[in-house]
Amino acid sequence: MMKSEGITILDWGKVRFFCGEVAQNFSRNITMALTAIGTVTISIVLLGTFLFLRESFDLVMSNITRQVTIAAYLRDDIPPQRLAHVVRVLHADPRIDRVRFMPKKEAMRQLRQTLRGKMNLDVVNSNPLPDALIVHTVTPDEVAPVAQELAGLSIIRTVNYSRRVTDTLFKAAKVFSAAGLGIVGLLFIATTLLIYNTIRLTVFARQREIHIMQLVGATRWAVRWPFVFEGVLSGLFGAALGVGLLAAGYRYLAPKLTLSLPFVPLKLASIPLAHLAVELLAVGALVGMLASLFSVSRSLQAA
């Protein structure tokens, strides 16, 4: 930038020099540049596949756990005012999404439907089923505490929410989520190290140039900038290629996946793919930048 009569204007000569340097270095070290880009691409494909699987798993888990409801069976002969009061209180609870009263008649009808052809309930003259409240929580995490509180109410006889299944699912989801974060972290570090090594080779090939830059009085940042910019570009190119491959793979595989796993509640359309793509591009650029920065900083120390 240069200042002219108080207005800051861009010195195109400097911009041309900077871009020319970057372009020249790219073309001169084309093999190295392609290696760096290829490394980023492979890493991004791995990372993207893993992130996609993680998103899918989270989606499946949230779909399964969202279906978990609490059935709170009522004692007999509850005064209607008392029941209405409890329902009002439950409606007001921010953790609770929906509350529905299920009279014993409806419960019997549902039971008959469920057992049709399997068991003959015509021999049962009376209806032994109790009235119930069917409660849906806002998040699956709140099923257990809400169920416990319901069990403590005087109008409730017993509470059922398939505790063992939901607890196991929650635990599995949490373990997978934590392990996923760890694996994403490790992949990120591995990618950075791989690209660091590749870029280090290109920096090493230009040690002489770095030395000359320092001899003529270039500041450390003036030396670093072109390398950092090249690193970001390599990272972005590599990530864009990786995202392209992932998108192609997704278009080809996603319909097959949905068809072959019909019992899994996997709604792929709800995975934020554009968001994932932007994240991967940002990771590519960041990794390229960090790797270049570390490589050139080591060379500056050596020079």
């Binding site: 000569g13 001169r28 830059m213 001899l215 009085g217």
Partner: protein, 229 residues
């Protein structure tokens, strides 16, 4: 302009390169450093552009003690100093013009400044007619002229030359030495480490002989064999 006060330099591998050097070089002076290989000439020059830091003593350049210089200030010291080497250290993928302009561009000079100063400097060293050629298309002397132009383009106060004629034939060597003398007449302090006896004896400038990292002799209007009996 340059002052060494009791300067000693030991490299990390334990080699004692300089021992108790006391030397003052005035503004606009021309000085030859002589001595056989490994006596400390290059190490002395490296102390001036702060490629290395002495283990004791102080080097002062243009009134500034270099030991007090922070790492971030070193580039600004180097902009006051031009350095020329025996192997030229040119960038082979750049033309003569680009090599010289590079020294300005990486220090953040504006494009107008580059366009004004590069042709003038190329003219000064007599290489303007080859400005579009690449280093591998030039003779040794022309490459050294390019290197000198790159060292001069920032208008340095000091020009340090480490064996500038070591790779050149006698005729080209004398042309390069004459060029250095001409640059000196414009006020630039010039220090030349050399084995070029003919140039030293012809010019009869100040000569400092180094032996085992010490200054053995220092003589105004000296000759190449001072101190050798």
């Amino acid at each position: 302009m340059i002052a060494f006060q009791d300067v000693s330099l030991v490299y990390p591998n334990g080699v004692h390169a300089l021992s108790h050097i006391d030397l003052t070089i005035g503004r606009g002076e021309f000085l030859f450093l002589v001595g056989s290989t490994g006596q400390g000439k290059s190490s002395l020059l490296k102390c001036v552009y702060r490629e290395v830091l002495p283990v004791s003593g102080e080097v002062t350049v243009d009134g500034r003690p270099l030991s007090a210089l922070r790492r971030g200030q070193v580039p600004f010291l180097r902009r006051k100093i031009g350095v020329v080497f025996q192997d030229f250290k040119l960038l082979h993928q750049k033309t003569v013009w680009e090599n010289v302009a590079y020294a300005l561009q990486v220090t953040g000079a504006g494009s107008r400044d580059v366009l004004r100063r590069v042709p003038r400097t190329l003219e000064l060293v007599g290489i303007a007619h080859k400005s579009k050629m690449f280093p591998y298309e030039l003779s040794g002397g022309e490459q050294q002229r390019t290197a000198i132009a790159r060292a001069l383009v920032n208008n340095p106060l000091i020009l340090l030359c480490d064996e500038p004629t070591g790779n050149l034939d006698p005729e080209t060597s004398s042309e390069i030495t004459a060029l250095l003398a001409r640059i000196n007449t414009k006020g630039t302090t010039v220090v030349v480490a050399t084995h070029n006896q003919a140039a030293v004896d012809r010019m009869r400038r100040r000569v400092v002989r180094m032996i085992n990292g010490r200054i053995a002799h220092d003589e105004e209007r000296g000759h190449y064999h001072i101190g050798l009996g």
